[in-house]
């Protein structure tokens, strides 16, 4: 045992020496001076790093963010770097490493990066920090940005109320996250603006993946009389659309135009482009209009909207929705951000 221990210690020390040794020689190339300051009047090379909480190929939230990062690389000529599946334990060190490596923009993909951005930002005044899906953080060099998806949800509420014959509509969301609650409550307000007596039944199923459970929830709502159902349940939403198709009621999708899943059933979808959101905000840095503040991207931008009706909605309803949309953009109608569920 003693011999083994000594051996182990030796191995560990040797490997440490080796590591540090390699580190010494390898460190030189990157530590070159960061471009002579006076001569080049051009802005320095844009280097954008992004921190993801999940996998960049998740077909959902993270992937949308990654597509935005690729847009930044291709259209803004930025050098990009990213960290995926980043555990909470490593948020701060990942942020600091990206900043130390000379990235001048660091994007946190999700509300939860607000704290770390605020904590790290004062130490790196030349770096701009963007936290997307976060409508509260702001500092000198920190901006929280969010798509006003609840505006689009309001429009879909108007649509659902027009399309419903029973006077009962449903909404099914994955979790009662504030951003999802805000959309469901806006959907409710939109519907009530058309028919004050409409019954809006909202369920939070506690999963984005459980297709079977989502389907059950939808069937329960349909059996209770709902004839339009709006979902915000990512992958599980497929089950909701299937239930609507089987029961012959209308469905409203989320994220992308989901009409292709059930062409006779999905009358529209809430469009939300996470990619466009971070691209638009990063472009402000290139344009020189970026400031550290909370910025919301509403219906007037390409970030949120509603999908084509695919001929399933009467023209007069479509016209009315177009009018409401215009009113929201003009500010005549203000859609509130409500983060706690009604009832």
């Amino acid at each position: 045992m003693n011999k083994r221990t000594t051996l182990l210690i030796l191995v560990a020390i040797l490997s440490l020496v080796a590591l540090v040794g390699c580190g010494g020689t390898a460190a030189t190339p990157t530590e070159e001076a960061p471009a002579p300051p006076e001569e080049i009047a051009e802005a320095p090379q844009l280097r954008v790093a992004m921190v993801f909480p999940g996998t960049i190929s998740d077909q959902g939230f993270n992937q949308a963010g990654y597509e935005g990062l690729k847009m930044i690389e291709e259209q803004l000529g930025a050098e990009i770097a990213y960290s995926e599946n980043t555990p909470v334990a490593e948020f701060e060190q990942v942020y600091r490493q990206f900043a130390d490596d000379g990235n001048n923009v660091i994007i946190g993909h999700g509300f939860e990066f607000g704290d770390v951005a605020l904590a790290v930002a004062p130490d790196y005044p030349d770096v701009k920090f963007i936290v997307d899906s976060n409508p509260i953080v702001a500092a000198e060099n920190v901006a929280g940005i969010t798509g006003e998806s609840w505006q689009a949800a309001y429009l879909l509420g108007v649509l659902a109320a027009h399309m419903s014959e029973t006077g009962k509509i449903g909404g099914i969301a994955g979790f009662d996250f504030p951003i999802l609650v805000a959309q469901m409550e806006a959907y409710r307000l939109g519907a009530e603006s058309v028919n004050p007596d409409i019954e809006v039944n909202v369920i939070y199923i506690g999963s984005f993946e459980d297709v079977a459970q989502a389907k059950e929830a939808a069937i329960a709502q349909i059996d209770a009389g709902a004839d339009v159902i709006f979902h915000i349940a990512d992958a599980a939403g497929v089950g909701i659309i299937q239930a609507c198709q089987e029961k012959g009621v209308w469905a409203i999708g989320w994220g992308l135009d989901q009409n292709d899943i059930a062409p006779d059933t999905v009358i529209s979808s809430l469009l939300f482009s996470g990619a466009q959101l971070i691209f638009d905000d990063t472009k402000k840095i290139v344009d020189g209009t970026w400031t550290g503040e909370v910025r919301l991207y509403g219906l007037s931008t390409g970030v949120v909207g509603i999908a084509d009706y695919h001929g399933l909605v009467p023209d007069d309803v479509a016209t009315q929705i177009e009018q409401v949309k215009q009113d929201i953009i003009d500010g005549t109608i203000e859609v509130p951000y409500i983060e706690t569920p009604a009832e």
């Binding site: 182990l8 390699c22 555990p87 701060e92 060190q93 600091r96 490493q97 509260i136 983060e339």
Partner: protein
Amino acid sequence: MLAIVGGLLVSGVMIAIAGFDPLETFAVIARGAAGTPQSLGVTLTNATPILLAGLGVALPLRCGLLNIGGEGQIYIGALGATLVAIAFPNLPAPIHLPLSLLAGFIGGGIWGAIPGWMRAVKGLNEIITTIMLNYIGFWTVSYLVHGPLKDPDSYGYAWTIKVPVSARLPIIHEVARVNLGLVVALIVAALVHFLLWRTTLGFEMRAVGAGPQSARFAGIPVTRGTIMSMAIGGGLAGVAGAVVILGVQLRLSDFFSPGYGFDAIAVALVGQTTPVGVVLAALFFGGLQNGTGSAHRTLGIPQEIALVTQGIILLFVIGSQSLTLVRLLRKRRMVRLVEHIR
């Protein structure tokens, strides 16, 4: 040494297949692990919880018990530390911080003592019970941070309020951003060494580990050794949880641990279950994780390849020492056999 070279060779081939330069990658891994004060700091910070939890596995292993429950003990320890930290916001730091750490130790200790007691008194396999307690620990914390302990201003996220400054582990090196938790971990490692080789209790534990039957014949309280080793082991893992919350994350959330309790098992085995070995193994692990993560972030190597590289190197290191594990398992089986025959 051979193991590491072998691991580097095999993972180098993997990296080359993935379309990256293996030498450059290893250089980045090394630099990311210890090339600058900042990266060395990250390595040390990463190593701290797995060092503590690794001791929490190594100590019961000395007593012949395989503690798979590190993860649950970490969660309950973190819970205890968080509760004390946020319940007494007005205590002065010299009292508040040690008290919070102690709460972490007690929380994890209870979570370790339960399977220890079940093993010693009821003869239940501690591998099964510790795994089960992982779930109970994790979901208990999950429930609490979703419910009663949830920060009212969290915008729906499942986490507690931040622990007050007086309960936080202060940063002891500004540039490297290393917190006092590292010192705590090293002191704890020294204490464990002292416990194992300089105290009666430590001797009892080792005697039980060497063979419970002969230990019993020799008049050694097997029950006490079994329970105490699991309780202290659990407590050490609990301190790991406390150190993560009080030093790095500052608030308790579900999924706050990326699996420290499981890394701890590998750390304990690579470290040959000696405190010194565990310290070195934890530093190696911390550096490896930090270095491969850094390769992912700066070279754009897919995270999967980075993790595979990490896994291959570990596999080689553990493989070269597999004799320890085999010996341990064989001993356990013999003991069971003897008990069975009797």
